[in-house]
């Protein structure tokens, strides 16, 4: 049954993905700008034959419907094509960049959880206290600040003035990490390279904080309000009437219920983290998918944009599915 539901979600996602693919295809083709011309830059000479040859190579000389046909048939075969600019298979480029993006997303996720959930709980339990007010004010600041601005400020404070965190990048080469999965945290654990792990985490911290701040704020507020709601419920009174201590009431009986919505929202945020981090990636020189796409859009690297957007959409759908699955685990009422 559960499997059938998952299968169904996947089946339903197929037309959505196809829609995404077609939309992004037309989007790119119909937006002005000639990839070949842009590739040639503003210097030197270019022979028309050369441009034609490239256009032919990129299949840009064919009519639009044929291009779409090629794109879709390739896609169905699992082939995302070759990047015009980077001259590499898009699938490979995406595979190379995705781990960085995912790692950053998870960093943001963990940071937002570690900060937000305790704050949310304490604010709810000590409603109207100073702590409640201060942390909620902080939460509001978190969502009211443009990420790039916050990122730069963090770099200035933590890297330039205090030298506690590195300003950019994922991991310096000197640490000598052997990559296996592409997730540096995992790789450093797998290879037992603890200095690499420390360095990875240090590099991860500021970007994750920047990316996660907004979500942390949202999650804190949500946890607070769902906690407040849960604390009003009859079963909390029952727990007290059983003779439980206040701590047990909050941590055992209230928390799990309060987390039901929070956890799903957080899982859902993974999708947003994946698709919304190009700004953070740019600021922190983080070699992820977001930056790749922004660059590709500017260079009209059609296959790369198409491929990346499809992968984004896929991760979004997957994150959603994951959210639903997690939901069934925290909330026994729901059968997937």
């Amino acid at each position: 049954m559960r499997l059938a539901r998952i299968l169904e979600r996947i089946l339903v996602a197929i037309p959505v993905m196809l829609g995404v693919a077609i939309v992004v295809f037309f989007f790119m083709r119909l937006s002005p700008g000639d990839p070949v011309d842009l590739m040639m830059g503003e210097a030197g000479s270019v022979s028309p034959r050369e441009m034609e040859a490239l256009a032919r190579e990129f299949r840009l000389d064919e009519p639009l419907h044929m291009q779409l046909y090629h794109f879709l048939t390739d896609l169905l075969r699992g082939d995302l094509g070759n990047s015009f600019v980077k001259r590499k298979p898009v699938a490979r480029l995406v595979r190379e960049h995705l781990p960085a993006t995912i790692e950053l997303a998870f960093g943001a996720l963990i940071i937002s959880l570690v900060i937000a959930i305790p704050i949310g709980i304490i604010s709810a339990v000590k409603q109207h206290s100073i702590l409640d007010r201060v942390s909620m004010a902080g939460a509001f600041l978190g969502i009211s600040m443009p990420a790039f601005w916050m990122g730069i400020v963090l770099i200035l404070v933590f890297s330039v003035f205090w030298h506690v965190f590195p300003s950019h990048g994922r991991l310096p080469f000197a640490v000598g990490l052997k990559t296996i999965t592409g997730f540096y945290t995992i790789d450093s654990i797998l290879t037992g390279n603890w200095s690499a792990l420390a360095s990875t985490l240090k590099h991860l911290f500021l970007p994750s904080l920047t990316l996660g701040a907004g979500t942390a704020a949202t999650v804190a507020r949500m946890t607070r309000s769902s906690m407040l709601e849960v604390l009003r419920q009859d079963y909390i009174v029952l727990a007290r009437a059983k003779g439980l201590t206040e701590y047990a009431v909050v941590v055992k009986h209230a928390l799990r219920n309060a987390l039901i919505p929070t956890v799903t929202i957080v899982a859902l945020q993974i999708g947003t983290f994946l698709g919304g981090n190009m700004i953070v990636e740019t600021v922190f020189g983080w070699p992820g998918l977001g930056r790749l796409v922004v660059d590709a859009i500017q260079r009209r690297d059609f296959p790369l944009v198409q491929g990346a957007v499809i992968v984004y959409a896929l991760t979004f759908v997957a994150a959603n599915l994951l959210a639903d699955i997690i939901y069934t685990f925290v909330n026994p009422k729901i059968e997937l």
């Binding site: 989007f27 730069i152 200035l156 309000s225 729901i334």
Partner: protein, 321 residues
């Protein structure tokens, strides 16, 4: 007491069988039942929420500032004196008293630009939220009310748009259409309506089963009238709250697009582009980016406070009575 009880139960029942995305909206504050509320005591309620009131006042001040910007600016915000390039604020060494907040990289008075910038930021927020709301709410109500193929098509389309990463999408639109105010609005609305659609649809689905809708049907009202006069008034408050909460994030998106080089992009000052083009000067002329940033922060903060307050005010469950 009874009122609240029934609404709590209702909310619970409906919480559990919502999809995570609806949950998300729900927790953004969006499941509001308005049973003890009319506009009369709305303002009284607002008074009891000092933060929301503060938010409202600041927002109103900002709007006034935007409207009367031409009268308020001490200098021409569009052209500057190159000699005043990155002039520090007046209280700094080297600052000039007539340029209170200093000047930007082209010697334009920062204060004047900030005041003028309110126009773009606020209209971006207001217009894109308004457009998204109108589109999202009409389609959402219709989809929730009629269900069937109309609902199916719009819901799938909404899924599709949701699966598109928002910034990439906006970036794509901006790249395709070129920078400019209306293009920006278009980029923001193209996806912005989806959330409103989902909210309106979900609310309509639950509203539709309400007995007063049945009663209206039994009294011979037509579908359109039911949607407009029975359902709409009951969901509009949720929409307003979502609108305020979204407005803040849309204003920030404008800034983010500017950061990626694709904002409003004319000489008209917009906070987003001021913050992002000034960020290069962060280390030697922090004010160029930071002061518009503060202006933006204060506005978004106030809008959020107002939105949050509205949520509390409009949600009888959160009231002590």
């Amino acid at each position: 007491m009874k009122v609240n009880e029934t609404s709590v139960h209702f909310a619970q029942a409906s919480t559990s069988d919502r999809s995570p995305l609806q949950q998300h909206l729900y927790l953004l504050g969006i499941k509001l039942r308005l049973q003890r509320q009319n506009m009369g005591n709305f303002f009284q309620q607002l008074k009891r929420h000092p933060t929301a009131l503060l938010g409202a006042i600041v927002v109103i001040l900002y709007i006034l500032m935007a409207i009367f910007a031409p009268l308020l600016v001490p200098h021409d915000p569009f052209t500057g004196i190159l000699g005043n390039r990155i002039l520090p604020p007046k209280w700094y060494e080297g600052g000039k008293p007539e340029y209170v907040l200093g000047c930007d990289e082209l010697g334009r008075d920062l204060l004047s630009r900030i005041i003028y910038g309110a126009r773009v930021s606020i209209s971006v927020g207001l217009i894109s939220v308004a457009v998204s709301t109108v589109i999202g709410v009409t389609t959402g109500i219709a989809a929730g009310y009629y269900r069937g193929w109309f609902d199916e098509i719009f819901s799938r389309f909404a899924d599709l748009l949701l699966a598109f990463p928002f910034l990439i999408f906006a970036l794509g639109v901006m790249v395709a259409t070129g920078p400019g105010f209306w293009n920006l609005i278009f980029a923001l609305c193209f996806k912005g309506w989806v959330e409103f659609f989902r909210l309106a649809r979900g609310e309509t689905l639950s509203e539709k089963t309400k007995e007063y809708v049945e009663a209206a049907k039994a009294s011979g009202q037509g579908h359109l009238t039911i949607m407009l006069s029975e359902i709409m008034p009951n969901i509009i408050h949720s929409v307003i709250v979502l609108g305020t909460l979204r407005m803040g994030s849309l204003i920030i998106t404008e800034a983010s697009l500017s950061f990626l080089g694709l904002g409003v992009g004319t000489r008209i000052p917009a906070w987003g582009s001021m913050i992002s083009s000034g960020r290069q000067y962060m280390m030697n002329a922090w004010w160029i980016s930071t002061l518009p940033g503060m202006a933006l922060l204060l506005l978004v903060l106030s809008i959020n406070l107002l939105g949050e307050g509205l949520r509390d005010i409009l949600d009888p469950r959160l009231k002590i009575d």
